[in-house]
Symmetry: C3
Subunit: 474 residues, 3 copies
Amino acid sequence: MIKKWNFPEDRFFDPDASQKKIAMELYESVKDLPIVSPHGHVDPKLFSRDSKGFGTPADLLIIPDHYVFRLFYSQGLPLEDFGIQRKDGSKEGIEQDHRKIWQRFADHFYLLRTTASYSWLAYEFKVVLGIEEIPDTENAQNIYDEIQEKLNSPEFKPRNLFDRFQIEVLSTTDGAADPLSIHQEIKNSEWKGNIIPAFRPDAVMNLGSPDFKKEINQLSGISGVDIIDFKSYIQALESRRRFFKTMGAVSTDHAVVSPLTSELTESELDRLFQKALKGESTEADQAAFSGHMLNEMARMSCEDGMVMQLHSGVFRNHNHMIYDRFGADKGCDIPITTEFTRNLQPLLTKYGNDPRFTLCLFTVDEYTYSRELAPLAGHYPAIRLGPPWWFNDSWNGMSRFFDSVTETAGLYNLSGFIDDTRAFPSIPARHDVWRRVVSNWLAKMVVRSFIDMTDAFELANMLVYQQPKAVYKL
Amino acid sequence: MIKKWNFPEDRFFDPDASQKKIAMELYESVKDLPIVSPHGHVDPKLFSRDSKGFGTPADLLIIPDHYVFRLFYSQGLPLEDFGIQRKDGSKEGIEQDHRKIWQRFADHFYLLRTTASYSWLAYEFKVVLGIEEIPDTENAQNIYDEIQEKLNSPEFKPRNLFDRFQIEVLSTTDGAADPLSIHQEIKNSEWKGNIIPAFRPDAVMNLGSPDFKKEINQLSGISGVDIIDFKSYIQALESRRRFFKTMGAVSTDHAVVSPLTSELTESELDRLFQKALKGESTEADQAAFSGHMLNEMARMSCEDGMVMQLHSGVFRNHNHMIYDRFGADKGCDIPITTEFTRNLQPLLTKYGNDPRFTLCLFTVDEYTYSRELAPLAGHYPAIRLGPPWWFNDSWNGMSRFFDSVTETAGLYNLSGFIDDTRAFPSIPARHDVWRRVVSNWLAKMVVRSFIDMTDAFELANMLVYQQPKAVYKL
Amino acid sequence: MIKKWNFPEDRFFDPDASQKKIAMELYESVKDLPIVSPHGHVDPKLFSRDSKGFGTPADLLIIPDHYVFRLFYSQGLPLEDFGIQRKDGSKEGIEQDHRKIWQRFADHFYLLRTTASYSWLAYEFKVVLGIEEIPDTENAQNIYDEIQEKLNSPEFKPRNLFDRFQIEVLSTTDGAADPLSIHQEIKNSEWKGNIIPAFRPDAVMNLGSPDFKKEINQLSGISGVDIIDFKSYIQALESRRRFFKTMGAVSTDHAVVSPLTSELTESELDRLFQKALKGESTEADQAAFSGHMLNEMARMSCEDGMVMQLHSGVFRNHNHMIYDRFGADKGCDIPITTEFTRNLQPLLTKYGNDPRFTLCLFTVDEYTYSRELAPLAGHYPAIRLGPPWWFNDSWNGMSRFFDSVTETAGLYNLSGFIDDTRAFPSIPARHDVWRRVVSNWLAKMVVRSFIDMTDAFELANMLVYQQPKAVYKL
């Protein structure tokens, strides 16, 4: 039985008539605001002169999206069947026929109902691609044809879609040794899309990586700094940050298992650094170095004004069988308990009062919201709370976030929405969920007389548009 | 003032009219489905040829139910007053008059208002027993008479109640050395009630127990395997699993303090096992052995297809005064923080991808739902999430569960409802709460346009009836 | 644009008409009940014969309230600008002009919208002070004048406000060595306000404090016990408890980082105590001693009947820069993960069954509610759960509390509301939030048929008035 998408104007809003009326007025006032996207993982090549575009429907919606194929895998469907490429490059057993991949996706699409991915895909099908029917076994190939035709049309070239989405600014995430040549090419082009880089030095800070020496060599090469000790290493990082800033970067990004921060002496740092160059780092070395380097990054942010983003608390590549065959980012990263109060104290007591410093905190452990994150954000001038991240980026996840942090931290200590996605067509879908949740939540506050309508209109605009620009100095 | 039970058709549903209408339609479609009960602790003797039946009203509703007398105890009423038997068999100070026990229960029944037990008892009084009045001081003895009369009637013989409850299958929980003779007797009888055993080897896996040697001897005796080392121990366990399977068992059950899993070498295992036989195990030995044995159980489940159930995170017998006087299961088991991501990783990375394996996870630490359990279930094909367990088996507990896990894990990675009760008359009451919460929650999703009515009818049926049968291969 | 406070009768209630009608009936029945305030930090000097009164509007609402200035600080406004006094007494850079402080407060008042402080201040402005307008840049000085005029009037003398607030009893919190002379003076006066002390011996139990020796000397002096060893130390504490009881105290209060409890031997205790007098305590000494002393306090509570209050889980003075300049209680205390099940077990298994003992537990870690606190309170006769504390003392914080604990612990194991404030004018505001949340939550239970209206009226009265009197034996 073929079914059509049901997309009433009031979707996602609580049903009470008085509250819904307010929510709809608020949503009306923010739904067409430009998209500000200060952090994400879209590949800038998509917007380069010789962009290959989006490829097939499977390339667009399935193969790159671990949020989606993860769920099929959890129901016993092999990743090979969805065209996920093997780490070793072997194509054996990997489905190459995108029509077959698409058919499987449509056959099992019903499994996704009630997930966040289902709500984003609904928007992408209906609003972005103009597909009226919900994919299933029967209509799969017709929908494939319909989407492919659109993807081949000029309207669906990435730059045109970027413009249609009204993206005011989009930040990518880039390694410390990245030459940013694609960013330069886009800057030089006639196209006016505002795509900026973000500085993510994880690879050159991870002492324990087998590639550490190689990464440092690349950093040395591109920075022109001969990295022979901790001091020259820091100089090279500072040099790259300066370069990123000239290219428009406004932020740095740091992914760590634990948000531990600490201060080591220069001689200890040098010892750890030299050990790492010889490939002899222990896990303890790595953790201690990482703790110090977060402090170092905070210092540099005070000096150069780049917003520091901290993403912590994920056990990456939990499933060795999947990691060994398919590599990273295949849906088997699992959150762990995260502790902020004690771990961030050394950094915060030193830099958290500095008016030049902004630290955006992200967590996949929502059970820190009211206990740690809201009280920290409600005191330290440097802290802003990123929106619900990853598994929490959803209607309920956002609703719980607002209910849990705002009474203690207020709304002005939030960063506004960040989509953090590598799936470009999901960007407007994700921002739309935020706009709807913001409207619904503020309507809840109005109808209970915590705030009035004037407040609500102001705060909706702030949370959707002004705040991310202010926090990220855009 | 005597009050009557208020049992409107729309009880437990959110009040919004549009949502409630949908919830009632959904509930109407699932309320009369047969009960599938794949895990619980009802004593099979209740259904044997020479069953003693339910006894007095106090035997039925008070004395065996630690969910209930726990609450009276917390308000300062001694357990002795409710006829709870002492561990040493002494009757001194223990109330023997069931009418007096019943009177105390009725006198203090008001203390239970707003608890989950109150909502189950309401159903048991009103629907199961046909009692219209809420027990209080005044009507206590009349209600006692009324119930006793019913319990003496043929309609209230356990087998007849089983049939009236429309229980399609009921699993008990049985020790590894249990001969399952009652199960055999029920199979052999003319009665068609489907009661199956479940394999729970905790007693023969708990190295530190003072009875370990005795338990192993029993296991040896019943399995016919001469248990002299770790290898023969494993053979005996495998042999018992085969026997349980022939008796209809579809699952195993494991209660551990921490869900730690690990792999030890055979020589290390043998050393730990021999030490235990001599009664010399340390706590560390016990923890290490338990971690390995979970892995071993996962391996066996891959081989024999029995669903592995894991119940962890409870500090048993927290109150020594109560434990010393009354023994286990007296309401003083208290949950502790539980960690799944790191602890289960060794087991999952090895067996979690096996299509033959199903692992049902239960927790009394709801603060793992969105952080750990939903992401794990949304990736590993083996994992299914059990419903809210024990203290979380309640209207709010279930509502939070759906709100917290479904956006990440979807609905198809849940197990459906499991009542896990030893209180037989509470079974329909508990399943009714699940059916009402499922209907209410799906209605919430429909009225917000996350899914449509066709989806909702399908998913309600799935969550109430199809899913537990599919997950437990019934 | 000047805006007026919007204070409809139904504020804070959920919008569903059927539920709201019930909520309003319930609220109507409890809104005018006397205030029972069994724990807080109001300075008793406010009510002494020579009370200085409330001072300026800034003295009343800004300078003493770290809940408020914390939020301005988090937005980059220096504490100096709000007249917060420095630890060293220096006035350099500290704003002394209260009109300027008030202007800044009004200029930035919009930043507080949606916080708990905003809802309390709304009540204080509108109901306590009769100010119709919401403070902003424009009306700031007019409002200042209006408030100052009121504060100068007899109606706003503290004793008169106490009477107007209908406070039946107010407990202060007082050091073990406090002579309670102000309390004595109030008792002796013609004024009938019932202000009682509470015994808080933290300063004389904190081995690691640099002032420990000094504190012990004071304790020795006031108790008349020559404190030379652990035994005499205990005698001095017991003597002070007796004195506090004669002065009307009904409770003790203990602030600890972790709720660890333990039992040490007398010789070990003596060794730790002697070390502390020499200023040689380690952190481990301090933790062990604190663990034992909680047990000791439980024993004394069994003997003298004083309710034991335990506040744990806060990392005090997290921000060294603020602490070094301004001292304690400046908004930089941040919660940490708290563990009750294991930590309290030694104390509970020994004293938790004693009918003479009441232990009120408070937490800023709400992620222990359903896992630990509700199961503990639903079993041990001694335990009562304090209401949501500090950062959780808010509309959502309270709503989550009721939803998380009541199904397991029932309502009779709660303590009722405790305002725990040092901001006297916020007392009726805080109690009003509780009364509204209680009414809203009970209405939610009625409209879903968990309880009926008779139950709800009874329970509302119990939660607002009877329960705190019963629990605190007032």
